[in-house]
Subunit: 305 residues, 2 copies
């Protein structure tokens, strides 16, 4: 690869950072990658599995002399981490993040960064239900989208270098604004996660149906919800609290539609239901044609363990 950066610091060593590291290795990245995690247990695991060229015990050590610093921590602590590392940043360095929310992260991080450091917020739209330093893999970003959300007046060259960096990890890259990002993500990610968490919580809480029954009979549809409802609780708590308005707006729309469908069920309006269920098939086809999901039945998961 052409190297947009000589030294990269990954801050927070969970699913995204560890996948970035393995994707960098796969791309033949020749610079140095430092890593830092707040938890000493996470740092120990990283050292044990060879995650990062050098795992640092302090944030300052990790970011010193880095050309690119990637904040891979929950969005609720981005601001505090930015404040803590600000003095150690190299002039001319680029700081980016991978947070699922952009407006609040920009407001929390930008004020702490010194003049001469480029801040280019980002968000790779990729993940799994697993978390932690052992969960990463090099293919995570392949054919997925990374959105860059640069603030006005950002050096175009800093944006171009970050774009080329993400492309080298396998991602497609696009730019958008923070408010639009947060609304699009509320639809494609935040509301679906909250709804999945809710449905799984309801099933867990019913007196008349046991957890054992829910588990045994989950292949009838329910299990599809449990994957995203197994995602990292801290990350998701922060996402909902940081993207409050857009998430609540979409949930409001969702509730309105759900009430309309409940009413159609109660009134026996089969035509309304049939028309609605026919319309929703088209989006699935679009997703498959765009290479964003598999057409194999049941996501291609094996029928047997």
């Amino acid at each position: 690869m052409t190297e947009p950066y000589g030294r990269v610091a990954l801050i927070g060593l969970g699913l995204i950072a560890s996948s970035m590291y393995w994707a960098l290795k796969r791309a033949g990245f020749e610079g140095e990658v430092t890593g830092f995690a707040r938890s000493s247990e996470t740092r120990d695991i990283a050292r044990e599995i060879g995650l990062c060229d050098r795992v640092c015990d302090t944030l300052t050590d990790a970011v010193t002399d880095a050309d690119l610093v990637v904040l891979c921590v929950p969005v609720g602590v981005m601001g505090a981490v930015a404040a803590e590392m600000a003095d150690a940043l190299k002039p001319g360095a680029t700081v980016t993040d991978v947070g699922s929310v952009k407006s609040e992260v920009i407001a929390a991080v930008a004020p702490h960064l010194p003049e001469g450091v480029h801040f280019v917020p980002g968000h790779p739209l990729a993940g799994t239900e697993h978390s932690g330093p052992r969960s990463g893999f090099a293919e995570l970003f392949d054919n997925r989208w990374t959105l860059l959300v640069p603030v006005e007046g950002t050096d175009p060259d800093a944006i171009a270098r970050l774009r080329s960096f993400w492309e080298s990890l396998g991602a497609n890259v696009e730019e958008t604004g923070p408010d639009h990002h947060d609304l699009v993500l509320a639809v494609t990610s935040h509301a679906p996660h909250l709804i999945a968490y809710t449905m799984v919580g309801v099933a867990d809480d019913l007196r008349r149906v046991t957890d054992g029954e829910v588990i045994k009979y989950s292949a009838a549809g329910f299990r599809d919800f449990t994957r995203i409802a197994a995602s990292d609780p801290t990350m998701w708590r922060d996402v909902f609290l940081s993207n409050k308005e857009a998430t609540l707006e979409i949930l409001g729309r969702f509730t309105e539609e759900l009430f309309a469908l409940q009413r159609a069920i109660r009134q026996g309006d089969g035509d309304h239901l049939h028309a609605y269920f026919t319309r929703t098939r088209a989006i699935r086809r679009g997703i498959i044609e765009a290479g964003q999901d598999t057409d194999a039945p049941n996501f291609g998961r094996g029928a047997k363990k």
Copy 2:
């Protein structure tokens, strides 16, 4: 296999019937399997792909001399089909069905069946988002549960034979009552499907976010909902209309929980959210341990097309 039946008639040649046929072949079933579908196009496809030993042009032909008749039609037409075939049923034959709802199906079918015919309602909890005669495959029922819902006074031998039949197709078999079945399925299948349909419909209908964006960025969570929201519209319309009370009860519980979580978001109650999201992880683990889903990230679907 030990043959519980000499001749089996599959009525309605969609995903379930076609999977049953291929599973019977895999099991080395030595009897004859007849098939019937209302649509001549479906019958033509069945003949073309070798689905069923004999595809019949009339319902009467298909069920004549059958030892087991399996109704694989949408639950809304089960009663009419039962009425139409009643006179052609062989004394001592067993009639079963694969409908996703049991109380209404039993009420619709049972009155039409003549004395001397055993009616043992059933429901294989297995499926995919695909439908039609080409969508079946032999492994569909492997390690999945089939619920038998026999009415009081049914000949135990007729139940035992049907159990052994389903086991030969790869399924685990359990018995339950119709009301409990319908409640459990409302939780594990019907409510999740309606919620998925709703979320996909909302995404499709937003003015400020394009379908193109929803599709491109669907890997952030949304795409998990689109699979079950691509299921057969006629089948699902009938399910909701036939399992009205239980589905509306679960959706009521769901809405209540969703409102509580929306309020926690609005009020910034991170502890409530975190606790809720932690609890829902356990069910996912249970499902994986029970062999009802894969632990591979993203259901194991390939990262690349």
